[in-house]
């Protein structure tokens, strides 16, 4: 017998799902809840096999409830049930420990299929979502290492070179043919994007990145004391 706890704040939806599930052999709904704040404790006390969890649960939000349930009842399998068909949600749910993701607008059998699949130890992502799309999402949003220099715009890079050589803002402005205020904005942006705090660190960065010649070339102006 697959023991289920249902967590959804729409009692009509809940009633419908309960009716659907109870008509299935081998599935029993042992508990229901509509408030995110109490789902975790209910799960701990009832110890179901599967928790069917709405993403948009009032109180804590489905994803947060998911995290807490996974902490306090790690063996309970959680299947997300939701209106949100965005890969972002799926990815977030899966990352937080859900093993199933079913859309509310799916045909009724979808949920049952999901329950049986996860009870056997697998994952279930209902169409139109798919594992590939989720993986693709994960790839897309993966962390891409970033060279701080690449984050500079072309003008900012010009300003960086001149600033590292020791030119003041008015001199930079004159050289680039821009206003002093723009030069100041460029310099401030460069400092922030490179994560340096002052002229000395700027010069050090420039030297380390070989933006300035070390020997034989024009020396940068000494940093202001």
């Amino acid at each position: 017998m697959i023991r289920i706890v249902l967590a959804d704040d729409h009692h009509v939806v809940r009633a419908g799902i309960r009716a659907l599930l109870e008509s299935e052999p081998g599935i029993e709904v042992v508990g229901e809840d509509f408030d995110g704040l109490t789902v975790e404790s209910l799960t701990v006390s009832l110890r179901p096999d599967v928790l069917v969890l709405d993403v948009a649960l009032p109180g804590l939000g489905g994803l947060e409830v998911l995290r807490r349930v996974k902490r306090s009842s790690p063996r309970v399998r959680v299947v997300m049930l939701t209106m949100h068909s965005d890969e972002g949600y799926v990815a977030a749910a899966l990352r937080s420990g859900a093993v199933g993701y079913v859309l509310k607008c799916s045909p009724p059998g979808e949920l049952v299929r999901a329950l049986r699949a996860v009870t056997e130890g697998g994952r279930y992502i209902a169409p139109p979502l798919s594992a590939q799309s989720v993986d693709e999402w994960a790839r897309r949003t993966a962390d891409a290492a970033r060279d701080p220099l690449d984050t500079l715009t072309a003008r900012e890079r010009e300003a960086l070179h001149l600033a590292a050589e020791g030119l003041s803002n008015p001199e930079i402005a004159r050289r680039l043919g821009i206003s002093v205020r723009t030069a100041e904005a460029h310099r401030a942006s460069v400092l922030r994007k490179l994560g340096v705090r002052n002229q000395a660190e700027l010069v050090r960065f420039a030297v380390e990145r070989s933006l300035l010649p070390r020997d034989g070339g024009p020396l940068p102006a000494p940093p202001a004391p």
């Binding site: 993403v55 948009a56 939000g61 994803l63 949100h84 965005d86 972002g88 949600y89 990815a91 977030a92 607008c105 999402w137 897309r140 949003t141 993966a142 962390d143 891409a144 290492a145 970033r146 701080p148 984050t151 715009t153 072309a154 003008r155 900012e156 043919g177 821009i178 206003s179 723009t182 904005a185 942006s189 922030r192 994007k193 490179l194 994560g195």
Partner: protein
């Protein structure tokens, strides 16, 4: 040896008498019972100025000088009568010469039987004696006068140590009469605790020495003395010279107290004070300088230094000193001075006082702290003013931004209301009409139901669009990265502009207002790309450096001259993005040049939201 005239009439006076007379320095005249001079010695010759033969044989009264000026006759006659003649003093005049004072002693001469045989007179020139006596008397009078009139108290002390004399001044000083003083010993008048005899004998043994002593008078008052002792000014007598220095001593003591007080005051004044003397040549020389002056001015500030040497490098201060005069008693100027003590630059207010034609007092008040406090206060006031101005500006900006926020809110609400009413309202009406048709006879209910279901699905999607336009749920649920990716995908689907997304360290939660601002800015920027860039590709990047969040939307399209200002036609949109950024505490930078594309970067400092524990 004069030969005695051998005469029968001459009585035999005996060889003894002759020898005596011959050897005697006094004039001797002998006469017989007739009163005739029978003997005159050499001294008599000298005295009278006559030779012996003129003297002898003549009546005595004529012998010495004519007319008996010495008036010897009564003496002669008295001797011949056998009477005792007292010694007389006569003046012998000789022509053209100074009268000679003589003492005459006449005696009766008797022979062995006692019969009167004549007389003898001894005449002694005592004029030197008399002169001496007179001189002595004069001297004595002078001495007395000096002794009596002297202002100094003078006493004479004998060899035993007893007072032998005291002048009136001494009597006044000791408060006793002369008779009383003369009954005392030299140390008797000392004040309690003062041993006068010891001091006296000490001075006596040491020769001439000035000593200090203190006496007490009968009325109990005490006087301070300075005395000097001269040994043996007369045989067996010592001279003591006293000076009453009571007032002097008291005055000196008072002066010393006053001097000490002055010194203490002078040195204790924390302000530098220098007293200059102006010499006859006009040069100013330091005569006094207190500790504070030496500390501030250096080792050259001491008596003897000239003003030029001290202040040569500050000609304006020298002319200030020189300018002091009776018509300009006090001049006041503020100047800077580098302290010799610690090298600090002090601000001093100098005063120059003309005290006397040759004395100038210069002192300075240290107003460094005062001026510093004043300038600090004035810069504080300036800072306050600037702060107030900044606060006013900030308040104005806040009001402006608040107004903008309200405007934005209202416009969005209006859009939403329009969307709800115009779009959704109409669609729902159409849906209802369709469903109503299902109730009509002959309607194909299943088909209508299916179509209505599709319609409803579409409407649901529209509602979600609207709702996400209002507030994207995903932003709250899943964070900025997920929301931006989702938004970019929908944008790409709606506009056909491909969006390349990249994030670094940004997949975390930020402060809610920053997440919203960044999300909206990316949306708006993408919209601009679709509208203005003329390209079909855009790049969205989110990254975190430190605690700062950066959101960038770039395209390689038409671009515009961002140096010249916001592009006309896009100005409102760009301004709106800038406002959103600023409202969330961040900045917006737009970099674009014609033909070289556009990059919009929003930067939000301190964006990271601390995770709940």
């Amino acid at each position: 040896m004069r030969r005695m005239t051998a005469a029968a009439t001459r009585p035999a006076f005996g060889p003894c008498l002759e020898v005596l007379a011959r050897n005697c320095d006094d004039a001797i005249l002998v006469w017989d019972t007739a009163g005739t001079c029978r003997l005159a010695n050499a001294a008599a010759e000298r005295l009278t100025g006559r030779p012996e033969r003129d003297l002898t044989g003549r009546a005595l009264r004529d012998a010495v000088s004519a007319g008996d000026p010495l008036n010897l006759s009564p003496c002669v006659e008295a001797t011949l009568r056998g009477e005792t003649v007292p010694e007389v003093e006569r003046e012998l005049r000789r022509d053209g010469e100074v009268p000679v004072a003589v003492r005459v002693r006449c005696s009766t001469m008797r022979d062995g039987t006692g019969a009167i045989v004549g007389g003898v007179a001894v005449l002694r020139d005592f004029s030197p004696e008399r002169r001496a006596e007179a001189a002595c008397r004069v001297s004595e009078r002078a001495r007395s006068a000096v002794f009596d009139a002297a202002l100094d108290a003078i006493v004479v002390v004998d060899a035993d140590g007893r007072y032998a004399d005291a002048n009136p001044a001494a009597c006044a000083l000791l408060g006793r009469s002369r008779e009383e003083i003369l009954r005392h010993w030299v140390g008797d008048f000392g004040a309690p605790g003062w041993d006068g005899s010891l001091a006296y004998h000490d001075a006596l043994s040491g020769g001439v020495r000035r000593r200090h002593h203190r006496i007490v008078r009968p009325d109990g008052t005490e006087r301070d003395l300075e005395f000097e002792v001269r040994r043996e000014f007369l045989p067996g007598l010592h001279l003591g010279d006293f000076r009453d220095v009571t007032e002097e001593t008291a005055a000196l003591a008072a002066l010393r107290v006053s001097e000490n007080r002055f010194r203490a005051l002078f040195e204790g004044i924390p302000a530098p004070v220098v007293v200059f003397r102006r010499g006859p040549d006009g040069r100013l020389v330091v005569v006094e300088a207190n500790r504070a002056a030496a500390s501030v001015g250096g080792p050259r500030v001491r008596p003897g230094t000239g003003a030029e040497e001290l202040l040569g490098h500050r000609p304006e201060l020298i002319s200030l000193l020189r300018a002091a005069g009776p018509d300009r008693p006090a001049a006041q100027e503020e100047f800077e001075w580098r302290s010799a003590a610690d090298g600090r630059t002090l601000r001093l207010r100098g005063f120059v006082c003309f005290v006397a034609p040759d004395l100038i007092v210069a002192f300075a008040e240290d107003v460094t702290a005062q001026r510093a406090a004043e300038s600090e206060r004035s810069s504080l006031l300036d800072a306050e003013r600037a702060a107030r101005a900044a606060a006013e500006r900030a308040e104005a900006r806040y009001r402006r931004l608040a107004r903008r926020v309200t405007e934005i809110l209202e416009s969005e609400r209006a859009t939403l209301a329009r969307g709800l009413h115009d779009e959704l309202g109409q669609e729902l009406t159409a849906l209802r009409m369709r469903l109503e048709r299902a109730a009509l006879p002959g309607a194909d209910a299943p088909a209508i139901a299916a179509a209505s279901a599709d319609h409803a699905t579409e409407l649901l999607a529209r509602v979600r669009d609207l709702s996400s336009a209002l507030r994207p749920q995903m932003l709250d649920d899943l964070g900025l990265v997920a929301a931006v990716v989702w938004s970019a995908r929908r944008f790409a689907a709606a506009t056909g502009v491909e969006v390349d997304f990249e994030q670094h360290a940004a997949d975390r939660r930020f402060l809610p207002e920053i997440e919203l601002a960044a999300y909206r800015i990316v949306q708006e920027a993408l919209t601009n790309v679709a509208r203005h860039s003329g390209t079909a590709a855009a790049r969205v990047r989110l990254w975190v450096r430190g605690a700062d969040l950066f959101a960038e939307v770039a395209d390689a399209g038409r671009g515009f001259d961002s140096e010249a200002g916001d592009e006309p036609g896009r100005a409102a949109g760009l301004a709106g993005m800038r406002e959103r950024a600023e409202l969330a505490g961040g900045t917006l930078a737009v970099e674009s040049s014609p033909g070289r594309g556009t990059v919009v970067t929003a930067a939000f400092p301190d964006a990271v939201r601390e995770s709940r524990a």
